[in-house]
Amino acid sequence: MLDKIKQFASEFFVTGDPLILGAQVSIGLSMVAMIFVLTYFRKWGWLWKEWLTSVDHKRIGIMYIICSIMMLFRGGVDALLMRLQLAMPNSEFLQADHYNQIFTTHGVIMILFMAMPLMFGLFNIVVPLQIGARDVAYPFLNSLSFWMFFWGAMLFNVSFVIGGSPDAGWLSYPPLSELSHSPGVGQNFYIWGIQISGIGSLATGINFIVTILKMRAPGMKLMKMPMFTWSVFSSCIMIIFAFPILTVTLALLFLDRFLGAHFFTLDGGGNPMMYINLIWMWGHPEVYIVVVPAFGIFSEIVSTFSKKKLFGYKSMVFAMLIISLLSFFTWAHHFFTMGSGANVNAFFAISTMLIAIPTGAKVFNWLFTMYRGKIRFTTPMMWTVAFIPCFVIGGMTGVLLSVAPADFQFHNSYFLIAHFHQVLIGGVAFGYFAGLYYWWPKMFGFKLNEHLGKWAFWLWNIGFYVCFMPQYFLGLDGMTRRTYTYDFDMGWGPLNLVSTVGGFLMGVGFIFQVWQIAHSIKFREADVNGDPWEGRTLEWSIPSPAPIYNFAVLPQVSEADAWWEEKEKRAASGKSAAPIVYEPIHMPKNSAIPFIISTFWFFAGFGFVWGWMWLTIPALIGVGICMIARSFSYDTDYYIPADEVKRTEAALKGAKL
């Protein structure tokens, strides 16, 4: 009996590596610490009522952002471990299998569990406020989306201490990801972690499309929407077309592994190429899904901090919609070197290059928004300005990669690694950082310390170039991606060392950001009037942080920069806002079901990972019961009385003085 338990434990827990042991101990300790703190300060009830069951889009947004910053830490540590391993030739810091797990989880986490939730966090916080709405279209679904993401991410993350992480690359090509070559549970964690959180992503896409189409303030025509809202709309269109493909692809892979189907194995008539086509039909739009909202953020920031209207509004909208469309015609450039033939390669080469046209036009529009403006170099603006050269260079190397016959030399090399980090860090990470700095006061009611922020900015930026510029050269010198070691005589050592130093500079930049947040919490620099940046859009017209109902009275919109126009009008007439008649506000009630149903999904997924039907079946029954319970709950909303709104507003305005 004891032997059996020992045997089981040795398969269940990942052991034998001091790094992992250290991680296990620290996870255990931090969980104990969290439980202790929550119990000691009697915060369990508060946590449950105010956060875990909340359907308030602002709280959900904050929870997304907290998770994504934690995932940025995890993915970043993965990156630094890889860079340490590659800093020297013939390094023995990490073993091959450990290295393979690390780059796989680094990719998955950074794209799906860091970039996506950070994006969804900003969607949640900003979009309803920008369009003058009191919540999203489906608040309950919104909460469900968050918890599905959360438990999916947790399922994926436990794999590195329980059972073993996936190690077949972030897109898990078969046959490597099939049972024949990856018999362990790592791939199952991959499939179910992504699958569960993917449902949340799809639901968010639908939710925000409906929110944007149906819940705009009176007078806000589509062509008067703030640019960030437009970018969210474009991104969500891509989400609803791309994510179902991912869901189906992973479901088929699961059937292969679990039921011995042969969708992607040659020996039963299947075809691994099918998987590669499908996964990139999702995967390439995915990178535009995460970058387009960053374009929206930059548009808002450039305009605000240049004190100028956004240049070329209509062509900015057009460019984004074109990008959403073109993103679905680029997937085959990921396998130019699989012998698709000259015509197919030429088609996808050109359809890929085409994306450079609307993107290029956007860059010019941003530049001409600054032109004849008054540029203030606050931290959000600095990230935006730094984005332009970074993204333009990254875009250029992207165009180089799209030239099919040249790609035969770039493909799978470090040149590619440098390119996509340049566009994903330069575009997405810089963009979301800019967005976080910009909307932080709106979320929490205080500004982040600018001095520390500028340190973080320079460390990140310098670190970025030091880290990734050498990688272009390493790629041209024959170094391939996913290589865990190389010989001394390849001559790749010095540049790899430089690259590692750059990676660590970015790590220090991250530490400065954490310090910046901690420092700003301690020495609160309160945002007293709700409009710390002299903003232009509606979210700056309400107090920071916004009250639960956002807008006491729904705004009437007549121009694209609604709040800016309002301020101009007030300045011209010398009058403040018109007297207000408050009315009761209709709001959704909190619900515990999204949290519970997603927890059940976690256990169902965990059961699938291990093939434990005794766990999966009851968990899925739990999911079903939750759905039935929800369908019978009629008491889902309430009214905030006019008096209470009046009191809240008075209190908030009192705080302003």
Binding site: Y173, P175, T337, A346, M353, G360, L367, Q409, G478, T480
Partner: protein
């Protein structure tokens, strides 16, 4: 104040430093081709880089100038027009510039895509030599069907002679890449791909697997030794004398997952490569649609056929198996 300026000056300085470093190391493999395919690819890389630079440099300069000119500093006398947000002329200009550049690049790309199609034979007075490449876990098997020998993780080729590589995999897919000779092509089970390469100079070239294929993927590197025709013939003769022969049994052993050093075999079994290609698709209709050129049709035929008799009918007329 001073410190800030220093930091600001640092970034462009560092970029310049990198460009200097990069130009100093112009011996990067891809930029130092030793064969016609690699040379054309290098030309293409240069052409497309120049085309992109036409837009890149002005944009970077414009960015720097605008950011400097319109900064909100006391005493900055630059004009300020908060409502100037549209100009049809300007918009037409900057939609047109990238359209023209991309159109030019598209024309170049289409031409080169057809010219450099990997399965297209190279122009040469000499008849090509066929070498079959099989990626295994985690080693490369090279068989020389015309010479009847095989090697592992070592490739010797004569200079100035087109080499017709036929590639497949008996393991998760990989990618065969010799940067100095030319771009890569994937190796996939159940398919036979074709890649023509040629070495113009005698020398040792670095070859590697480029697509991740599992645990010891990083060890799948090989030496490509381009020699004179005479040395190549000597190598064949010498290899024919080594005692180890590759048989179906020893192939099965070799195909098992594991690393390997360099190995030589003086003989290969009949139709080994075709057997590997058809191994996974036996009795099935060929899956295809990917791959082009003659080999795909061969693979189609091969995967449809079940007997070695059919194999003989295949277009491998140059294939003379040693018995």
């Amino acid at each position: 104040m001073k410190k800030r300026k220093l930091v600001r000056a640092l970034l462009p300085l560092m970029m310049i430093a990198f460009i200097v470093v990069l130009s100093g190391c112009s011996q990067a493999m891809v930029l130092d081709p030793k064969g016609p395919v690699g040379a054309e690819q290098k030309d293409l890389i240069m052409i497309s880089t120049v085309l992109c630079t036409i837009i890149l440099v002005p944009v970077l300069a414009l960015t720097a100038w605008i950011v400097w000119r319109y900064r909100d500093k006391a005493g900055n006398k630059a004009s300020y027009k908060p409502n100037w947000a549209h100009s049809t002329t300007l918009e037409v200009v900057w939609w047109a510039i990238p359209i023209i550049i991309i159109a030019t690049l598209a024309v170049v790309t289409v031409r080169y895509t057809h010219a450099l199609e990997p399965s297209k034979p190279l122009k040469s007075d000499k008849a090509p030599i066929t070498i079959q490449v099989t990626s295994l876990d985690w080693k490369w098997l090279f068989t020389y069907p015309e010479q009847g020998i095989a090697t592992v993780n070592y490739l010797q080729i004569p200079e100035d002679t087109p080499i017709k590589f036929e590639l497949t995999s008996d393991a998760p897919m990989n990618s065969f890449w010799v940067p100095q000779l030319g771009g890569q092509i994937y190796t996939m089970s159940g398919m036979a791909m074709t890649l023509y390469l040629q070495a113009d100079e005698i020398g040792h070239y670095f070859g590697t697997g480029a697509n991740f294929s599992g645990e010891h993927f990083a060890d799948m590197t090989f030496d490509v030794n381009a020699t004179s025709q005479q040395d190549f013939e000597e190598f064949i003769a010498k290899t024919k004398k080594v005692p180890t022969k590759l048989t179906m049994e020893s192939y099965e052993a070799l195909a098992k997952p594991g690393k390997s050093g360099v190995q030589y075999f003086s003989a290969i079994p009949d139709g080994l490569f075709e057997k590997v290609v058809t191994k996974y698709t036996k009795g099935q209709s060929a899956h295809s649609g990917h791959g082009s050129g003659e080999t795909t049709t061969e693979a189609k035929k091969a995967s449809g056929s079940e007997t070695s008799k059919d194999m003989d009918k295949m277009d491998h007329s140059q294939m003379k198996m040693t018995k």
